[in-house]
Symmetry: C2
Subunit: 391 residues, 2 copies
């Protein structure tokens, strides 16, 4: 068997994103035990750093030992019992996944279907709550990776709390790339992944739960269906007791500690502005190539650009050439958007002007190869114009 | 926040074990996407290598994106539905954990309690099966990390299959350190962890399921309670279809690919002999220090040595000095064995003569510091005597 020798890729898909060399270095530092005093200080740092990035003072803030979807399952497995009514906004793959996860765990799901790429109306959420006897939870995906649209959280939070429900938010793609503000928005439970705007390899799911959510967990009549994701048990390891639950994924925690440090060294505000700027530059450049934003105007994500595909292009073949000839990964459309959009991620370390230019140049050359009349250099010029504004 | 700078530790506890430099190098190779053609070849290699180490031709052999306990939960979540009867041998922490995991998932658990450190009798398993109406599953921990004893699998497998039940085995601590032989022993489902005898950092759970087990999964009346661990969905990514389920933990898969390659480069037979030899050398040396095996004679694990603590020693203080003054981690006792045993792991890369000698030397000096009359050098001499035999 050969050693692992991956090809060089510029990761501009829906994740994983590029990883800072500091994070790779941390990842391969020598292991210590999961109860080693040194490791416990690293855990504390990770938890503190995640609180800052989530914008919360929640004690129960921790990295779950699984990918972002394990974060989703953690929140539902702890908050939902058989027969609990939950309202879920399904406006893409991940909203739909929430419905499946919650139903398996015994919830009665009141689903609010929203056209992919569009934003939910407060009235639709209110109507769904109205169809419940006693709603336990209202859940929504902040930044839908499958559509490139973001949902307004403030209004839904208000509506959820007026109904005395908990408010659960998927922040997988948003965390670290735009403000999340868990405490200000009165979000009771939120989860994320490491491989998007935190620019850490995939494998951990940051989760945070408000004291109100933890009261609901403690008031359960039955144990959570999942032992592995049981926040009561996990809290005894991640809290002051340091009781053994499962062996923490040491190397991944090292990497997340460094990734969190990289985020905080840059500063959250600076990081958000960088994501916004590179998004606008990319979109300006793409417009010169006849490629446009596909999600609802005014609700397009900075870190995940869902864009139209020029008519008559074999999109899969072009993506493959981008990957194999140019070393650039971009994402395909999913579900009803398959074949209709590309998903271009500018997340964390990937969100850099040099990467925007490299992609525009590669797309320009590939479109010219397809016989399209795209003016040489115009796309990069348009991007650079954005960078020169209020630069 | 500071960079990750762990102290140097010799890991001789219940896991994680030491990691080969080849594996650390693989861990920090640059990411590619989880659908990148290169990554799919790495996945194939990992799955093939795991089949060889498990001793199986099972198509459904894959690394679950979580630690060993997630492997346990995967097996139960897929094989158990509400009301299913399962027989579980509980002879330590991990057998007890199986009971908790299975009950949360709706199983009616027929528990076979066995004194910690002892071996279950076939008649006890038969009696438990006799108390069931229709037993779905018989489960046992092969190598109980909490007691240092191994259970005989051959007899239990025969009894389980005579009752037309599936046979599930926890191989977390045994896999890669002693023969597991899934196909020869007719094991229907098995799971392991990466941080024991595979000497990869913690974070993945190798799982294998026989065709008979997968038929039971496909014949379920309800979906598994866990979406994240649903083998039907996972099989569509890890099989030929390569359908997206969740983002695979790329870096950890790189590391496991290399760890599996290290195991196979050494050769399984050679590796097992090495584990056996180092175990005997350690035990010979410890006997000179008045420290003896605590598990049932003839059933002591090679890779996890549960040993007595000399009378009157403050065992926690001594373990702390071993860690902080000598840089050596060993494990404490758990549950009823807390304060009564130490658990010394010689797993994978940790199982080396130099490590055995270093631990014996450190223990000797610490016991002398406690005023014990331990003859200088005698322990290492006894260990070396074992190494010189049929060397």
């Amino acid at each position: 068997m050969n050693s692992v020798q991956p090809p060089s890729r510029l990761l501009l898909g829906p994740g994983p994103s590029m990883v800072n060399p500091r994070v790779y270095a941390a990842l391969s530092r020598p292991l210590v035990g999961h109860l080693d005093p040194y490791f416990l200080t690293v855990l504390d740092e990770v938890q503190d750093g995640l609180r800052t990035i989530f914008g919360t003072r929640n004690a129960m803030t921790l990295p779950i030992s699984g990918t972002g979807s394990a974060g989703m399952e953690t929140c539902f497995a702890n908050l939902v019992e058989d027969g609990d009514e939950v309202v879920i906004v399904a406006a893409g793959v991940f909203g739909g996944r929430m419905c499946d996860v919650a139903a398996r765990l015994g919830a009665r799901v009141e689903r609010v279907d929203v056209e992919w790429g569009r934003v939910v109306g407060p009235a639709e959420v209110e109507a769904a709550i109205g169809r419940c006897r006693k709603v336990k939870l209202v859940a929504v995906v902040h930044a839908e990776t499958s559509t490139g649209a973001w949902q307004p959280l403030h209004e839904i939070s208000r509506i959820a709390h007026e109904a005395d429900a908990l408010f659960l938010v998927d922040c997988v793609t948003s965390l670290g790339g735009c403000p999340v503000d868990v405490d200000d928005l009165v979000i009771d439970a939120a989860y994320s992944g490491t491989q998007k705007c935190l620019s850490c390899p995939p494998g951990l799911a940051p989760v945070t739960m408000s004291e109100r959510a933890m009261e609901a967990v403690r008031a359960r009549k039955t144990k959570p269906r999942s032992w592995y994701l049981d926040l009561g048990l996990l809290g005894a390891y991640f809290g002051q007791q340091r009781l053994y639950h499962h062996t923490a994924p040491i190397s991944m925690i090292y990497a997340l500690a460094e990734a969190v440090a990289v985020v905080l060294d840059e500063g959250l505000e600076h990081r958000y502005v960088r994501h916004e700027r590179n998004h606008h530059a990319l979109m300006a450049g793409l417009a010169c190539l006849g490629i446009y934003g596909a999600a609802q105007e005014g609700h397009r994500l900075w870190m995940l650009n869902s864009v139209t595909i020029p008519e008559g292009i074999d999109e899969a073949a072009l993506r493959k050439r981008l990957l194999l000839d140019h070393g650039i990964e971009i994402g395909a459309g999913l579900g009803p958007l398959a074949g209709k959009v590309w998903r271009i991620g500018l997340m964390g370390e990937s969100s850099r002007p040099a990467n925007v230019r490299r992609l525009l140049l590669a797309l320009e050359s590939e479109l010219r190869r397809e016989g399209r009349a795209v003016p040489a250099g115009r796309a990069i010029e348009a991007a650079d114009h954005v960078y020169s504004e209020k630069g």
